[in-house]
């Protein structure tokens, strides 16, 4: 009996999650201006589910502004040049994106992978890093421990975060996917949201390139309570959450952590 309930629950969860994805994708059909975003990465990943949540919320704004975002899963990077999507979201290694990046300088690539690159390779103008450089996470943990505190882990997001309407985002995501939002899903969500909000403000037909607008005029808080922005390496400056025993014990900003790690190096 217990086993049957478990199976039923499992199928219900799959049905709910699939319905959410299908509804999100179908909801994009009704509006006037289609704005395709390409996604490169695993469709069963938290990043993908986060991006789908971001798509739903982007279109919740877009329906009032006659903008219709479409998230399209892709595998061939050559499609970027052929189709010219408005943005590329990728959880692939940045090294794999290199050729596509250079061939399409007007298209922003939003990198949501956690794979580190050497600082000397960071300065591609149209590559934006949603997750902090791994050295920032290490630096945040070291800064926390430096004052004799308990061991803790620095992350982008945590399911128990409540401030700045984070609780509502966690609740929406859990309701739609039956998963807890974590750093991976937050980075997927944030990539779509920050791009869609930027496009809405800039206008899809604007003369100003989206790459420039993202760099200079981003107005996005990521439910973290402050203006996030891309630094000179195109890393998204943001508060990190310090976690101990599955609880948030501190918030530390990435500001200064990256520059401390990278020394005098700068893209400028």
């Amino acid at each position: 009996m217990k086993n049957e309930k478990s199976i039923l629950r499992h199928y219900f969860t799959i049905l709910k999650t699939s319905s959410f994805v299908i509804l999100c994708l179908l909801s994009t059909l009704a509006y006037s201006k289609d704005l395709p975003l390409y996604f490169y990465g695993d469709m069963s990943s938290n990043e993908w589910y986060g991006a789908i949540q971001g798509l739903q919320e982007a279109n919740a704004q877009g329906k009032f502004l006659q903008l219709n975002y479409k998230l399209i899963h892709k595998t061939k990077l050559d499609d970027v040049k052929a189709d010219k999507p408005y943005a590329v979201i990728s959880s692939l290694s940045p090294a794999k994106l290199r050729q596509a990046l250079l061939a399409n300088p007007q298209i922003p690539f939003l990198n949501i992978s956690s794979i580190a690159e050497p600082f000397s390779r960071l300065c591609t103008p149209n590559l934006f890093y949603i997750r902090p450089h791994p050295s920032s996470l290490v630096a945040a943990e070291a800064a926390w421990k430096a004052e004799g505190r308990i061991e803790a882990k620095a992350v982008l997001w945590h399911h128990s975060f409540k401030k700045y309407a984070a609780a509502q985002l966690n609740k929406r995501y859990k309701k739609n996917t039956d998963r807890r939002m974590n750093s991976e899903s937050w980075s997927g969500w944030a990539s779509v949201k920050l791009f869609s909000d930027t496009l809405a403000r800039n206008g899809p037909e604007s003369e100003i390139s989206i790459v420039n607008f993202l760099k200079k005029s981003l107005a996005f808080d990521g439910q973290k309570g402050r203006d996030l922005f891309f630094n000179s390496y195109n890393y998204l400056e943001q508060p990190l959450l310090v976690i101990h025993d599955d609880k948030i014990v501190a918030e530390i900003s990435t500001s200064q952590l990256l520059s401390a790690e990278s020394g005098a190096f700068s893209c400028k």
Partner: protein
Amino acid sequence: MKLILAITAIIVATNTMAATNRAFVSNERSDSVSVIDILTNKVIKTVQVGKRPRGVGISPDGNEVYVAISADNAIAVLDPVKMEVIRTFASGDDPEAFAIHSNGNLYISNEEDAMASVYDPRTGALLATIDVGIEPEGVAVAPDGTRVAVTSESTNLVHIIDVPEHTIQNNVLVGARPRSVVFSNDSQIIYVTAEIGGEVKKIAADTGNLIKKTTLPDQNAKPKDVLLSRDGKNLYVAGGRANKIFILDAESLDHKNSIPVGKRVWGLALSRDGSRLYTTDGLDHQVTVIDTKSEKVKAVIKVGKFPWGIALDD
């Protein structure tokens, strides 16, 4: 219809019962309302109202006080004289803020439903629902009764809605996390606060066009409530974690003065004659009373935990 609404507004304004001279303060974490005698600045009663009280307002005739009890998905109705809950009515999921039309109807932001709803508080009847952006928050009714504005916090929009049609006339992109909105006295302009970036925008209500914007002169400013002085010349902005009230010139949005108050100042209310501004200071569990002429703090009154909203019956 619009003429009828305007006439109703005038009739209601001249047909109110004698004021109790009380302030009603919702305490978000005490599940209560503190009642303050505004002649003595003393708390005279604390009323348990329901879970997570936030938005608070008084009916146009002064006979009832409404409190959004968010976690109970309801509105509690208090008798301002007896200072007790006389009834509650269901108001949709997670009512946060609301504004009261001169015809007595409540325009409520339902945070979790991405919806604004219209209720008749006398009967508890749901009259209309309006789809808005994610996490709607601030609500304002134009003084002439012909429009309502609703901010959606996670969609960064302010929706300007026609009354009584309840159709959206304009959707205006504003700063990140818009919190509160107020109409000018002639109903032609709206002022919107956006928490992230400490921004205030002045927008033409009929076109949705941006007239001016400003950033508050304090990097800690996370503006929440916004109110206009009775003469329409000054804009009062609750600065959130800046722990200040910012006074802006309503025409130019130039910063005129800042008044330090308690921690995380959130809600605002102005006395009928405009001489006193009341603030709820959430983290200090207090209400601050400001003399608007001298722009000095006149009194500080301890209330319940995390005071959120405030309404005056004066």
